[in-house]
Amino acid sequence: MALGSAAVSNGNPPPMELAAFYAAEFPRLAGALTLYTGDRELALELAQEAMARACRHWPRVQHFDAPGAWVHRVGINLANSAFQRTRRRLQSPLQPLLGQPEPAVSDPSTALAVRAAVARLPRRQRSALVLRYFVDLPVDEVARLLHCSPGTVKALTFQAIANLRRTRALADLKETLR
């Protein structure tokens, strides 16, 4: 069966599974990267590029246990690379903004304020939080993607929630560690 980019180069139509994968994963990936970067436009760019990588490697990716998890990890890695190359607003992931004052947001309960609070988390905490609580990956899968143990994932997500609760936007957040 001709698949992925090989199919395109041969002039054959792309496989239906890949089209379905794109349609299903793009919204979730774009949302996750919006949370991860705090920048909607950048997130859409990165999501598209990550999906292109999935197309490029589809013959292999389709056999992975969790292609969706894989493309999310690729998207986050691309975001990390983008931070380093362009020194965008979030700067280096090693220089998180938690030590800086919160941005002035008229209504701290808005989605924008939550997005900003998440984007200011340290990178590992942010990765674990987004993958676990937005993408809804199981602990074990997040651990595999972050190259750490399930216990570390739990610690990172708990630390992320603790940091979020220190912000005005999420001060009333109830503990929901799963």
Binding site: V139, Q159, N163, L173
Partner: protein, 415 residues
């Protein structure tokens, strides 16, 4: 009703549908990437051929140097990128440990090394046994325990004599018994449920202390006299926490106080908690849950460890992601070691602290792709990663391991 974290994240993410022409554009871009990779590969062929020729010539001349992998001899699961400050492949270490070779040989078939069925104290709620691997009994009270992607290890405080106790990443060490013979582990099963297991590092005997299917175990700490174990329970359905207490044999498990918990230590017969429900996120209480009071002044970051003598608290600086120490009264705040870190634990004398210099994957380098864009940064991160032992006054530091996987170290409670 207050929306949940999941709902707030969903609102904040504001997902959008896939653009109509997005798939076609992704396919086109994927094809571009494929052609570029092909071009790079073709252009590399002459270089590879030249390199092969040079190696062949040098080998024929007898000057070729054998390539070697570093790690435990005969251990097929040990990553070849891992090196230890005093690798056991070192002949000096090997000579001192004749049992290593025989034990390593048995590891070629890991299933064969699984010890007999563990003693499960609660047969009504069984937990699959952890695959424990032993070389020899560990000297009591002188070793650190830490988890990596490929297993749970113990190691001497000078970085020598590493020993993988458990293969795989289904367990994390939480605390040593005061006599150094037993290790508390958070064991995660296939459904991601975490139970509390006590592992005798001399005999391999395992006891499941807490395995409540409705609750997940997290932090745990042994009392200084070894008579009790405090732990945190997370109700996964409700998202609430509780502090529990159990005897070392698994009997007498009970909840001490509700709505408090996460990381847990015990010092001077008092429970110390970092987590929800505490004023300032840290609190201390008697073993029966009474007399709860703040343990520290507000700490700007996440608490990682409490020294056995209770004088120091280690926390992660949210700005630099580095390690900082502070007295519970808020004095003496200072940085220790290098950044970023991944966990920390004090030595029994409270004078030193073990921490993990974190490896953070960069770009696509950690994935099976040839087009790594940030190889230099990734290499630098990998080169600096590993466990380090630092004095609490930051005057000295010793690198214990060179390890490109995540580590979550833990020191012995008492020497």
């Amino acid at each position: 009703m207050t929306p949940s974290l999941h709902e707030r994240l969903r609102d904040a993410a504001d997902p959008v549908p896939a653009p109509p022409d997005g798939f076609a554009l992704a396919l086109r871009r994927g094809e571009q990437l494929r052609r570029r990779a092909m071009t790079i590969r073709l252009s590399a062929i002459p270089v590879v051929l030249l390199a092969v020729a040079v190696i062949a010539v040098s080998t024929l001349n007898g000057s070729g140097q054998a390539l070697h992998t570093v790690g435990r001899p005969g251990d097929p699961e040990a990553p070849t990128t891992t090196t230890l400050a005093h690798p056991v492949s070192d002949p000096r270490v090997a000579a001192a440990r004749p049992a290593v070779a025989a034990a390593a040989a048995t590891r070629r078939t890991p299933d064969a090394t699984v010890p007999p069925a563990p003693s499960v104290t609660r047969p009504s709620n069984p937990v699959p046994p952890l695959a424990v691997q032993f070389d020899h009994p560990a000297p009591p009270g002188t070793r650190i325990a830490f988890s990596r992607t490929d297993g749970t290890y113990t190691m001497a405080l000078d970085g020598s004599d590493p020993e993988r106790l458990i293969a795989g990443h289904q367990s994390s060490p939480l605390g040593w018994s005061p006599d150094g013979t037993k290790l508390l582990l958070e064991a995660t099963d296939a459904s991601y449920h975490a139970s509390l297991v006590s592992l005798n590092v001399r005999t391999g005997q395992q006891s499941v202390l807490v395995n409540d299917l409705t609750n997940d175990v997290r932090g745990a700490g042994w009392s200084p006299d070894g008579s009790r174990i405090a732990y945190s329970l997370n109700n996964q359905a409700m998202g609430t926490w509780a502090v529990g207490m159990v005897n070392p044999d698994g009997s007498g498990a009970h909840t001490v106080v509700d709505n408090v918990g996460f990381e847990m230590w015990m010092a001077d017969s008092r429970i110390i908690v970092w987590g929800s429900g505490c004023p300032n996120y840290t609190c201390t209480m008697k073993p029966d849950g009474s007399d709860m009071q703040p343990f520290t002044l507000p700490i700007p970051g996440n608490l990682l460890a409490v020294s056995p003598n209770g004088e120091w608290v280690a926390y992660e600086d949210p700005g630099t992601l580095g390690l900082r120490l502070i007295h519970p009264d808020g004095s003496g705040d200072h940085a220790v070691g290098q950044t970023p870190i991944s966990g920390a634990a004090f030595t029994p004398d409270s004078n030193r602290i073990v921490y993990g210099r974190s490896y953070v994957s960069q770009g696509l380098c950690g994935y099976p792709f040839p087009n790594c864009q940030d190889q230099q940064q990734a290499d630098a991160q990998r080169a600096a990663a590993g466990l380090r032992l630092a004095a609490v006054d930051d005057s000295t530091e010793t690198r214990l391991t060179s390890d490109d996987s995540d580590s979550w170290p833990l020191a012995p409670w008492h020497g």
